[in-house]
Amino acid sequence: MATVAELEVRTGRRAELALLGIAWVIIVLSRALVDYHADFLELAPLAIYGGGAAALMLACHLIIRRYAPSADPVLLPAVFAINGVGLAMIRRIDFAYAQYRGRETDFGAAQIGWTIAGVILAMAVILVIRDHRKLRRFTYTAGVVGLVLYLLPLVPGLGVEINGARIWIDVFGRSLQPGEFAKIAMVVFFAGYLVTNRDTLALAGPKILGLRFPRPRDMGPLLVVWAAALLLMIYQRDLGASLLFFGIFLGMLYVATQRISWVITGVALFGVGAVAAGIVFPHVRSRYDAWLHALDPEVYSSGTSEQLVRGLFGMASGGLFGTGLGQGRPDLVPYAESDFIIASIGEELGLTGLMALLVLYLIVVQRAFRTSIGVRDGFGKLLAAGLGFSLALQVFIVVGGVTRVIPLTGLTTPWLAYGGSSMLANWIVVGLLLRVSDQARRARTEASA
């Protein structure tokens, strides 16, 4: 027998405002440093930028105060800070391209537009979805939508192939990456599916090496998702998305059933698939070669590992404290503004700055899991855990690829890398997490009021 006592909850809105203040200084200072080193520093544009950022952050804060008063106070400032550093870094890379390459790019301005659109979408999610449990009604709709979004790039005439990966579609002259949105739809689908079917999936089967494995006849869903992930890898040549897709399912399956044997089975299956793909498909094998023998002169001169090695050199020249914003040479790495923004940040902010960003990601993910523990309904638990895990896995795949822990794959770093679809999709994730965390903490604040 035990006594159960409720702990009081603070809504944390004032703490959020204070943290947003620090994030705002980071956003403005990073841009000022970049502009100063490009001899571009003028007060008026900087004031407009700072004023705009302050207005956007304050608007978010007020909307949350009014419509999600118990939402998590740390989520928003952390994401704003990551996004702000990303904006400054992309602007910095624009300057570097112009200065050293004679290449006129305007990634920075475009990314500001995507950020504003993303923040508006996140707030729209909070305003439209008043109760995340309503999403459960759209379980199978979300599954179908996710599947269609994944398949869209394969439609002839609509899909565009860029750099060997067929993951973009052409909409009004802009290329969109529907896979980013499919990720969210799939998390909703898995959450709804697993919350109703977890009892069968948790049933015990044969015992092998001291571990209870699930019954073979319950393996169906796992095999279907595995096959889908493999098809994604083969037809779209998108290793990252297939790893992310399979990983999200496996992570959520583990959260739903608490059976480590699912994870072992799944990882073994994926390992088999990855090795087989490396033997059968040359483009996968060249990725593995670039990863395992990156510094081999033969592999380097063939060009497969050039980007990876340049990124490593960039981070090495950054060292512990970095060259300083605006003082490095991030333009030497291909795709420094998108796939390799982690390397650019490692170069100019050093290990210290990169670690700070990674800890901010960690905080965001931790808040998602905390929300998952706090919220009462099973669907909300799986939704929050799935969204948090998808962010964590995505950051791991990108950073792991750039730092040669795993083979390099083309995924975007959430809120940091250049890319419209990724920015919009990940801000929608923020909106969903804020909504669920409001539900998780609201009952507590009301009960103790």
Partner: protein, 173 residues
């Protein structure tokens, strides 16, 4: 700007990034929420004894912790939430409104219990005449209110212990 002030700003930016990280962690430290579960007995033997006693002895130290514990008083009929005091969900509380609460293993229940000795829809706790009542929904292993089997709706007062399977729930103020 001079070289030194640029260097200072460069390091100042890194310090600022970490300031945000540490401030966020500081906020998280102050943001513990949920329930605190305090075990009353020491070990299984003591716990069994505690069960056997009618449980009216509230540990005095609880008031000193400053946490609202919802003192057990049968005079005040208004209950604000349902607390699980034993079983897999120990520590869970559900705020009580005007809606009835279904307890069982089915995911459609208000309180979903993962307990092999519970039925899919085990029992229902519902408001009536300003108080709360409990009825069994034909469960296999039965619902017990203070060790008395519940068949017809019985009044469920604050401090009463409702046992279903390995789970015990209580009404709290």
């Amino acid at each position: 700007m001079s070289e030194i002030s640029i260097t200072l700003l460069r390091f100042g930016f890194l310090i600022l990034l970490w300031a945000l990280v540490l401030a966020a962690i500081g906020v998280l430290r102050a943001d513990l929420y949920g329930t605190r579960v305090t075990s009353r007995g020491r070990g299984r033997e003591a716990r069994r004894k505690a069960d056997a006693r009618t449980d009216k002895v509230a540990a005095p130290s609880r008031s000193a912790t400053g946490i609202r514990t919802g003192s057990i008083s049968t005079r005040d009929e208004t209950a604000a939430h349902l607390a699980v005091t034993a079983g897999a969900l120990k520590g869970t509380t559900i705020p009580l409104g005007s809606a009835p609460i279904l307890v069982g293993r089915s995911p459609t229940c208000t309180l979903v219990i993962d307990d092999d000795y519970c039925s899919a829809k085990h029992c229902r706790i519902f408001p009536e005449d300003g108080g709360w009542k409990v009825e069994d929904l034909g469960s296999t292993n039965g619902t017990f209110l203070d060790n008395q089997r519940v068949d017809d709706p019985m009044p469920f007062k604050r401090g009463d212990k409702l046992r279903l399977g390995a789970t015990t729930v209580e009404l709290r103020g």
